[in-house]
């Protein structure tokens, strides 16, 4: 079995034609396969997110994480860039959509692409994954404990509007993975999102884990919950195998 992957920093046109930095990983066996855009969380384009990118390549997909803070702090360390982005109030939703769209186009242009691309994000990246599904045409979207899809806009960041009302615009199947001890989103907010998607006839698959809170996928954090994370990764694999096949 030939199992080599290539992981590297890449650049591609994104929102407004700006050239964005990204971290990509892809299998080198030449077989046709789908792609995954990994959307980093508010604290940035960090090592852990890049590990997720490499994991998706090992799972059999092309993957890329766009650095959403490329414009704000080109060349800076990821944590300094995240600090600068936060001081500016984050990045606008419209720009994130354009940047993820650029990453999707980059994946589809790969010589081994089958044309199908999914999105995934954790935390604020989960919100962005949902957001993209209401604007663009991914084959599937995965939301891992995305906050502020349901809820109220924080006064400090007025651009972070709730998205649940856009459920009718969701263009693809949605896999949601949540911890029942989480407060952002609360289990009640997860229920509301699921019901809203279902009532709009969307293909939705939510899983909830007892004993898990926010960020249970993060192996380097106290919040890590091995059972929830392992089951979640299995759900992700099955979901992507189904929706990115072809």
């Amino acid at each position: 079995m030939y199992d080599a992957i290539l992981a590297e920093t890449v650049h591609f046109p994104a929102d407004n034609g700006d050239i964005l930095e990204g971290y990509a990983a892809r299998p080198l066996d030449g077989a046709s396969r789908g792609g995954v855009v990994v959307i980093h969380h508010l604290p940035g384009y960090d090592r852990e997110t890049k590990e997720f990118v490499r994991r998706f390549a090992v799972m059999g997909f092309n993957a890329v994480c766009p650095n959403l803070y490329t414009r704000i702090a080109p060349g800076a360390s990821y944590d300094d860039a995240a600090a600068a982005a936060r001081a500016q109030g984050g990045v606008p939703d419209e720009q994130v959509v354009g940047d993820v769209g650029g990453a999707m186009a980059w994946l589809r242009a790969l010589s081994n692409s089958n044309g199908k691309v999914a999105t995934i994000g954790h935390c604020s990246g989960g919100r962005h994954s949902f957001l993209v599904s209401t604007h663009l045409d991914p084959a599937a979207a995965i939301v891992c404990y995305g906050g502020l899809i349901v809820g109220e806009t924080p006064p400090q960041l007025p651009t972070m509007v709730p998205l649940v009302d856009r459920s009718p615009l969701v263009s693809c199947p949605v896999l949601g993975l949540f911890g029942n001890d989480d407060q952002f989103p609360t289990p009640e907010q997860v229920d509301e999102l699921e019901k809203t998607l279902q009532s709009n006839g969307k293909d939705v698959e939510f899983h909830r884990y007892d004993g898990a809170g926010h960020a249970f996928f993060g192996p380097d954090r106290p919040a890590y919950r091995v059972e929830a994370a392992l089951d979640g990764w299995a759900r992700i694999q099955t979901f992507l195998d189904k929706h990115l096949a072809g």
């Binding site: 508010l42 300094d80 984050g90 935390c123 924080p154 960041l157 989480d182 809170g213 926010h214 106290p222």
Partner: protein
């Protein structure tokens, strides 16, 4: 979660990082996942000089209890009468002037 609870303010002073002293002009205070601290969430403060780029930053990440203790200690020091007389001199009208 990635909280969006963030306060920003202008500050006057200096902070020391690995490359030496920075005359800081801006501060950001927020509660979110830390980069380095061993906790799920921390109270984070960035003391920054954005005019010198994003790397001109001194960052701290403290557990919520540590942050409260630090905040109380700062206020205790500033509220000490001997310090207050130096830090916030009175005007002729007796009005406190900050800065």
């Amino acid at each position: 979660m990635c909280t969006y609870v963030t306060e920003t303010l202008a500050v006057t002073g200096s902070a020391k990082g690995p490359d030496g002293w920075i005359r800081v002009t801006d501060a950001t205070v927020y509660f979110d996942h830390p980069t380095h601290a061993l906790a799920d969430h921390t109270l984070n403060v960035d003391l920054r000089r954005p005019a010198d780029g994003p790397g001109a930053r001194v960052a701290i990440e403290l557990t919520a209890e540590s942050a409260r203790q630090l905040a109380r200690a700062i206020l205790d020091v500033l509220d000490d009468p001997a310090v207050a007389a130096l830090a916030f001199p009175r005007t002729a009208a007796g009005q406190a002037v900050s800065g």
